[in-house]
Amino acid sequence: MLNPEANKVNILYECNCGEKVGVEDTYYCKSCGKFYCNNCTFEEIIQYYCPVSFDTFGLSEINQIQGKSQKHFECPRCSSQLSPMVENQNETISSYSLKCNYCNWTTKEIGIETENIKSLINIIIQNEKEQKITVENQKQMKQLINYYNKKINPTKNLFKYSSPRNSPLNSPLKMVSSPYKPSYLYQPISNQSLSTQFSSVLSNNPKERVTVSELENELEKREKEVIIRSKNVDKDSIIDDEIEKKELFGNIDLNESINLERKLQEIPNQPKNEKDLFPKRIKLKSKKGRLCLSCGHPLIKPDLQQNVRFKIQNFGLLELPKITLLNYPIFKTKEKTEVFIVFTNLSSTPIQINSLKFSLESSLLENQNSPTNFIVQKFQESFFQSGSPSKQTIIEDLKSSNIAIYNNKVYIKEFITLQEEIKEKFLNLRLEFNIELEEGENKKEIKLKAIIHIQK
């Protein structure tokens, strides 16, 4: 039977940064000799894998694949995995297609159905619209990048000129550096451009020089070219806009149209109707490790093979004792209440606890009666032969003393009297203690702070 009062008690460990976290969010750094929370560590991706076939991919391969599986697809409607389906039309002929077992979408709706399962995936890959659009767009991107790379590079060639006389730095046009002048006057000058455009202006031969009026005429010509080019673009975009608008006038089948959220999941396509949907490639998942922020040493590192194990696991859970309360205490002002605290050892070595202290908000706690130093033993299987003790036997044992030890658990009793009424809805009982950890032949003592958060 579930304890309905279990949610009212919360036990947190205080990190050096001030953050309060549960035991499951703590990590132990052997080089620093401290316990850290999530904020004092950072994650690092070590490996990528396909969640269907568990094929692994390295960090260098992932960019080529765009982080997606090459063979497995998911439903475009509900994003669950597509699985192959067979239909036997005759005894000899059978048709293969991919089907979603959750929403019953099939590739038949797009018209993809084959007699051979191997060719099915190849056909899907060939017809991938998203791929086609990205391939086309990537060509345009490359052109843009090359265009701008060429524009930047001429500045690096300035230092190639042998004598200062020949270098374009001495040219009169380069001295003009206002941002509001037309761009062609402002271009970095190379030998080629000199010969084609402005050789006549810069030449020493007076017969070849060009007048200002001729330069102005050239300006006008270029502006007209710009106007002509932009007019053609203008027409097409308006016509497309009008057509799209008129399509919406009639009765729209809302069952076929797609949500805005779904549209934005396929960004180059941005499909509008169900007819435009196409199976999506499954996104690869990643195995992550954790590193210490201060020293950079690994705290957690997963195994690179296809399993769920760890190469390095320095979880705080394996070193720290698990703290719980045996019962939910009901507090009354100016009355003693018994609080039973349990220390459980989940590691394979005994844990030495020293200088245990309790504290509350001022003037609410009497003198500490519970012991300050004790050992929490490791788990022993032989203990279960005699049977584990019940709650009542533990409470009776604690009547005579403040401490009781059973296998890997230590029970401590403490009395708390509230001398004033607490206005807040919770009570924070603070514990401070030291832990001894073995590092080879040496022993290390680490200070810890825990908070038992009890809701009234």
């Binding site: 904020n39 950072f42 994650e43 690092e44 991706i45 990528y48 960090l59 960019n63 765009q66 982080g67 990205t134 767009n137 990537q138 991107m141 843009l144 990048i145 265009y147 701008y148 790379n149 524009k151 930047i152 590079n153 500045t155 941002p179 509001y180 761009s183 502006e223 710009v226 106007i227 932009s230 007019k231 673009v233 203008d234 097409d236 975009s237 308006i238 016509i239 497309d240 806009d241 009008e242 057509i243 799209e244 608008k245 008129k246 919406l248 006038f249 009639g250 729209i252 809302l254 149209s257 949500n259 805005l260 549209k263 934005l264 960004i267 180059p268 941005q270 990643s286 992550k288 922020l293």
Partner: protein, 400 residues
């Protein structure tokens, strides 16, 4: 006015481009032709259980907790969505997350890069506001920046008000139920059925569309000759639509009438009643008027529409009609009357909501990106003084 940032980040081999909008973050890798993810700012981070990126500071959030939340948000974007390592990273926004190189680039400059042009007037119609800024020789002229707080949010509110006004007496849905409908469901409805009607488009709710008219539409897609069939096009009328909706765990049918569907987005062009000068058209012409004559001549040849709200069908044609009407009839814009018929618009609907991201992707894949970006060591020495002002991006544009 929301702060729009663009970060170009460099890790060992990959360069990441992030654009912060008022509703979406677009993130992806440099060299790609489109971002990988559109992440909502309103979505909740499962670790912190608060908003992913609280870009607007409030009284409830202190500076340190704000930095902490943004730090967590960025971690989520890199590790969960983009799946990229962030080792040894110093971030400008917060101290915990660190990147080796960061480059800030202004949005107006980046929108022009895909067009290979240096001059242009950018109309950015977003979710919360519309901004119009001229760019001349690659320099965004912030002194001539105009903006109005009209965007998708106002269209959603207008739809709500129109639904309440046009409620039938016998319907099961009440005014209170309409006010409880989410913004997201209304936005979804807008993306499916709403368009912007022309200024002079007549609406006859009685006539229905025939098969012939349907075929006509298909023909026009192939031939693209609307002028020849203009008279027949004008006869196409708008139908009512029933939308299934879920309010308070019950299913209803919400009827949106045909005469409303074209009117919903009129608020962008008519403005709010409180201020006279708030419509997009007014600030657009005001911006052109405020520009220098040299700037105006080149900027009017390349007017770029971007932003998600500009993707509503009919936006461009309505904009042109309204601008021509204002230039003819409004005396305040007499000085600029000669611009009628000489304005040229560029509007690529497929990319309109991430066109400036494409510009950032191009810049991120250039050869000398490392030299132009801010290094971590410089930031650690100088702190916030190492940042350049947004208007001082000229040194980078010079080489283009």
């Amino acid at each position: 006015m929301t702060d729009r940032l663009k970060l170009g980040l460099l890790s060992e081999k990959t360069i990441i481009v992030i654009e912060f909008g008022s509703y979406f973050i677009k993130c992806g890798f440099a060299g790609d032709s489109s971002p990988r993810y559109f992440i909502k700012l309103n979505s909740i981070n499962p670790e912190t259980k608060e908003k992913l990126f609280p870009l607007k500071k409030t009284n409830q959030i202190t500076e340190q907790s704000w930095i902490h939340l943004v730090n967590k948000g960025l971690n989520l974007v890199f590790l969960k969505y983009l799946q990229v390592n962030t080792k040894d990273i110093v971030v400008i926004i917060c101290d915990d997350v660190l990147f080796p190189f960061v480059l800030f680039a202004p949005n107006p400059f980046l929108t022009l890069i895909p067009y290979k042009k240096k001059d242009g007037l950018i109309i950015d119609c977003g979710r919360s506001e519309t901004r119009i800024i001229p760019v001349y020789e690659g320099v965004p002229l912030y002194s001539n920046l105009y903006y109005t707080e009209l965007g998708m949010i106002d269209i959603i509110q207008n739809l709500r008000e129109l639904l309440i006004l046009n409620l039938e007496e016998k319907s099961q849905i009440t005014k209170e139920m309409i006010q409880e409908i989410d913004d997201e469901t209304l936005e979804d409805i807008i993306s499916k059925i709403v368009f912007i009607r022309g200024k002079y488009e007549k609406i006859n709710p009685n006539q229905k569309i025939n098969k012939k008219q349907n075929e006509l539409i298909k023909k026009l897609q192939i031939e693209k000759k609307p002028k020849e069939n203009q008279k027949e096009m004008e006869k196409l009328e708008i139908e009512d639509i029933k939308i299934p909706i879920r309010i308070k765990e019950k299913n209803y049918n919400l009827i949106i009438k045909g005469k409303i569907r074209g009117k919903i987005s009129d608020i962008l062009f008519e403005g709010k009643e409180e201020n006279e000068f708030e419509s997009i058209i007014d600030i657009f012409i005001e911006c052109l008027k405020s520009c220098n004559c040299d700037v105006r001549a080149s900027v009017s040849q390349n007017i770029i529409l971007c932003g998600g709200t500009s993707m509503i069908p009919g936006f461009l044609s309505r904009l042109r009609e309204e601008v021509d009407f204002k230039l003819d009839n409004d005396e305040y814009f007499k000085d600029v009357q000669f611009l009628k018929g000489k304005l040229h618009f560029n509007h690529n609907k497929k990319n309109a909501n991430y066109i400036s991201w494409i510009g950032g992707s191009v810049i991120g894949s250039l050869n000398d990106i490392v030299d132009r970006s801010l290094k971590r060591e410089v930031y650690l020495e100088k702190g916030s003084k190492s940042f350049q002002d947004w208007s001082n991006f000229f040194g980078y544009i010079q080489d283009f």
